[in-house]
């Protein structure tokens, strides 16, 4: 029998090294790519940033202009989406975790997961047929509704997951004291899961902030500051899309700057949420 210091098949050793290197290369490659993309956005976007840019409305090419109304528009529609989507989503999530261990709950869970997977442009088309056509025009309301629909299943599932983490012993302790189920859920379980639910909520807000497709023909766009929900409203993402696909260089530069704002917001939310609440590891 061979001694322990005789080398094993060189081929096996080589294969081992090669595959280990390849996987490491994949990981490094993708990480570097991310950094390059973010870096590029930062560099390209920074030069066009200014206070004026952040507060002005779009102007004809050559006259400057800014994304002030787009920022406000995004904020309004995201807020609208959250006002509808968060309560419904959280309530659905509470149902799934506290009462949802039957066929109905399983169906809802399954449908929610597939709703999450439906392209957001389909949601946009849906709202178009449901709200825009009857109303006769695009509106911020339609845009907000579309975003809310995107939010609901995501929030529902993360809420459910977070509540499931609350140990049963906590529930049983309260029930044993004679508290009705609804009090237990509301006063004991929800507060315990609160930070997790908040995390899910924030991530879903970050997600809809970056959505473009559902707004394209529901909220359309606007060149003005607008605070009326029944009118079209500008949004950061649609504005980026328009500037990027237009023919003018100055607009391209503005697209980068707007992207910088958008990505910075989303990344900040994501990084904040993931460092404050240690997720997987």
């Amino acid at each position: 029998m061979a001694s322990l210091t005789t080398s094993i098949d060189r081929r096996r050793r080589v294969v081992n090294s090669v595959m280990t290197s390849l996987t490491a290369i994949c990981a490094v490659f993708v990480s570097v790519l991310l950094l390059l993309i973010i870096g590029y956005i930062a560099v390209q976007g920074f030069s066009s940033l200014s206070f004026q840019f952040l507060t002005d409305t779009p102007k004809p090419v050559g006259e400057g202009g800014g994304i002030g109304n787009a920022i406000v528009g995004s904020a309004i529609m995201t807020l609208l989406a959250a006002l509808i989507g968060l309560p419904v989503g959280i309530a659905a999530g509470v149902y799934l975790s506290e009462y949802g261990k039957n066929w109905f709950g399983n169906t809802v869970r399954f449908i929610a997961d597939t709703l999450i997977g439906i392209p957001s442009i389909i949601i946009g088309i849906f709202i178009y047929t449901l709200v825009v056509l009857p109303m006769g025009r695009q509106s911020a309301l339609a845009g907000g509704l579309a975003l809310a629909i995107i939010m609901i299943p995501i929030v529902a599932r993360t809420t459910e997951e977070m509540i499931r983490l609350v140990p049963n012993s906590m529930r049983e302790g309260a029930l044993a004291l004679g508290a009705p189920q609804w009090r237990v859920s509301l006063n004991i379980v929800l507060p315990a899961a609160a930070s997790g639910i908040a995390t899910g909520a924030m991530l879903s807000i970050a997600r809809v902030t970056g959505e473009t497709a559902p707004l394209l023909f529901t909220a359309l766009n606007s060149r003005f500051y607008n605070f009326y929900l029944d009118q079209p409203m500008s949004s950061l993402t649609v504005q980026i899309f328009n500037y990027a696909t237009g023919p003018f260089e100055v607009e391209h530069a503005m697209a980068w700057a707007a992207t910088l704002i958008l990505v910075a917001t989303i990344l900040v939310i994501n990084i904040f949420v993931r460092t404050v609440t240690r997720k997987k590891f």
Partner: protein, 263 residues
């Protein structure tokens, strides 16, 4: 402490020689100054209460603890005169020489044949297809499983019962022609009949292999082994011929454990 301290003559004859072995999980020490000689072609049983370190010690013999980042070994483990912790040791070759069977059977999601063939394949032991068939058959025979599976070699390993799966895992280990077989409570998850089959098999295997078996079942140790080592809290309390260990142990602690005075 016990018979474990070997004279130089005994050391020459030992298959495995452990001296001054300390083991650490990070800062916590799990094994304290273990000294033990394991002769060739005998069955050595490790017994002791839960958490006494017997499994940890077993795993130092084929360097399975390498997979744990915070694990650290001090001291010597020598197999056939070679220190297995020396830098540059080929761990892959070591594990071919020192095989392992685990507490819960863990066959691969492959057919029965492919499970046994796996070790042969990766180590490139076989010459050709016919040779492979022979080796697989021999391993299954040596594991007392051939008769039960010879007609369904290409079916999934998961179709076997728990006891059969464990014998399959033994066959898998035998297929790479080890010299030592380490068994970590191989029958603890099995019913009494399956357990008995495993025990009979182990006694048969002694003819060709050196076997170290960890068990929490003292009756099993007394039935099967030639020598027994009793561990407690990471220390080797006593190491003696099994007969002596169970009838007339040297240490009081050993006697207390064996008579069930503590768990």
């Amino acid at each position: 402490m016990s018979d474990g301290r070997a004279s130089s003559i005994t050391q020459m004859q030992s298959k495995i020689s452990i001296s001054n072995l300390d083991f650490f999980y990070g800062k916590a020490q799990a094994l304290f100054d273990i000294n033990l000689e394991i002769p060739e072609r005998e069955i050595i049983a490790f017994i002791g209460p839960s958490g006494c370190g017997k499994s940890t010690f077993l795993r130092t013999l084929n360097r399975m603890n390498d997979t744990i980042p915070i694990a650290r070994v001090d001291g010597n483990v020598t197999i056939d005169g070679e220190n297995i912790y020396a830098p540059g040791t080929d761990v892959v070759a070591l594990r071919r020489k020192v095989g392992m069977v685990f507490q819960k059977s863990n066959p691969f999601p492959k057919s029965i044949f492919e499970n046994v063939a796996y070790g042969i394949r990766i180590n490139g032991i076989h010459q050709n297809k016919a040779d492979m068939q022979e080796r697989v058959e021999k391993a299954l025979r040596d594991a007392a499983l051939w008769a039960e599976v010879k007609d369904r070699l290409n079916t999934s390993a998961f179709g076997l019962s728990g006891g059969q799966q464990q014998r399959l895992c033994i066959a898998r280990a035998l297929a790479v022609q080890p010299e030592v077989i380490l068994m970590d409570e191989p029958a603890s998850a099995l019913d009494p009949i399956a357990t008995q089959k495993i025990e009979e098999l182990v006694v048969e295997l002694k003819k060709e292999y050196t076997i170290v078996i960890v068990t929490h079942n003292m009756q099993q140790a007394s039935r099967v082994s030639d020598k027994t080592a009793f561990f407690m809290l990471g220390k080797l309390v006593e190491y003696n011929a099994t007969q002596k260990m169970f009838q007339n142990p040297d240490e009081k602690l050993t006697e207390d454990y064996i008579t069930g005075r503590f768990g």
